[in-house]
Amino acid sequence: MASQKQTQTQTDTQAVALRSLARRYTAQTPRRLRVIDAYMAFCVAVGVVQFVYCAAAGSFPYNAFLAGFGSAVACFVFAANLRMKTDPQNRQQFPGSSAEGAFGEFVFCHVVLHFVVANFLG
């Protein structure tokens, strides 16, 4: 009984900690970054679905798998870059660049990426 209670309180504290973390995240992270975070989570989800499918159903059109999965991974990486460069906290680290410049690079990389993906998709 006591141990149950203990675990109960433990999970409670864990939940409280998570909730406070979430609150702090929403409170302290600019929305622009949260938008990117959501986008990155979306990339991971699309990548995971394709990976699971490949593992389950076989890797036959392997080029298509590489293209689809690679597209998700590359989008994630580009988004991470964009996030790093636009996070006001990192401004000192990228003194020469602006958020707009980073976005321009982001768009350019995507255009190249999606052509590569289209070529590989088969």
Partner: protein, 465 residues
Amino acid sequence: MKPWTCLALACALLGSTNAKSASGDRVLVLVPKVESAKHYSKFLGSLETRGFEVSIRAASNTSVALQIDGERAFDHAVLLAPAAKKFGDGLGPLDFTRFVDDGGNMVVAASSELSDFHRKLAAQFGVVFEPRSTWAIDHANYMKQNNASDHKVVAASNFAPAPAILSPGFAGTLAKNQQKPAVYFKGIAHKYDVANPQLVPLLTGAITTYSGKDKGEKPIENANAPLNGKSLGLVSVFQTRSNARVAFAGSTAMFSDALLSKRGGDNQRFVEDVAKWTMQEKSVLRETGHRHHLSETGEQPSHYRVSNEIVYEIDLSVYRDDAWHPYVADDVQFEAIMLDPYIRTTLNRTDSTLSASETATYHGDIKLPDRYGTFTFRVNYKRTGYSNVDVKDTVAIWPLRHDGYPRFLSAAYPYYTGSFVMVIGFLALCAVWLFSDEPENTEKAAAAASKEKSKAKNKAKNKSS
């Protein structure tokens, strides 16, 4: 009038008729002496009635030449002088093999008194004659005479199953009560090369036939058994790769008038079959055309792609009875070879071409292998007694084009969707980035902004300003 002038006259009379041979009508007949040609008048006469231009020369006639100015002077040579050590002006065995290499055909008749010239010549074709003064002897199957019987005149009836060479009476199965044909053979036996399919032992010995000395002569002292039975060759024929034909008969007598007209014997028919085959009057096969193309378009591309479906066609005709006829068979095979044969398939005859034309067309629907490389399309048709047909085409088979592979597979749907979803997500992010308000301007964001952030912003503003 001397017999050869008779022949010459007959020749002149018949000169207008065309020879039945597919290769030519000039025949050189070499006999020990010109007078001895009269022993073979029936045989030589039959050649002339068939339209050949027969030139009879003595073996020692020095004006005899097989070649004139590097060209063959004759199309066929008949050697009826087995004892001659050389012909003409020092013509040796090599001159005669060269004659055959050039496409000349040759009938070589031997006898018990056989010169080294003939042995050397025969050895070139895998025919090894027995020693001098031996005979093919059969104590059971010999020519029955009224008074004296000679066991050296073998009544041979072991014919090779070669319907392309021998007429149906010999090669086919006998009808009931039909007497087994027999060829009277008086002469020397030979060993033949069993391993060479170019050499056909047309007439071989019975189990009782053996090679030995004549009665009263001292038999050969030899621990080995004499040549006998199936391995004892009496008449063998050879066809070179270039389709020249050579016949070796161990007996000059079998061509002679005496044996040709003997009742109970089939020498007339047999000798005619051998002569007709050797002089290219029958079973001459040729390819008159071949082609291949894609089944779909009917075009022949410069190269095929793997797994293409193609059609291969070849036209074959056979020469007999003075004309080309469609060649009918069910064993014409096509091969696609790249080092090893990848495909070997039997071609079917296209019936429609049979009626009017002199060729038969064979076709096959072939799916090329899923291997790329340089392939050889080959019809290598070699059948006993028929001229060889070997048709080769070098064909390149290329791999599929980069866009020739199967596409839009159901198995890849999730990957296609994934890629498109990423594109849409990217565009959505762009839209959000470009069109939504600056978070700093909204109240919510403004409230959430920390000191550090405003500090950083100030710093940035200062810097930019």
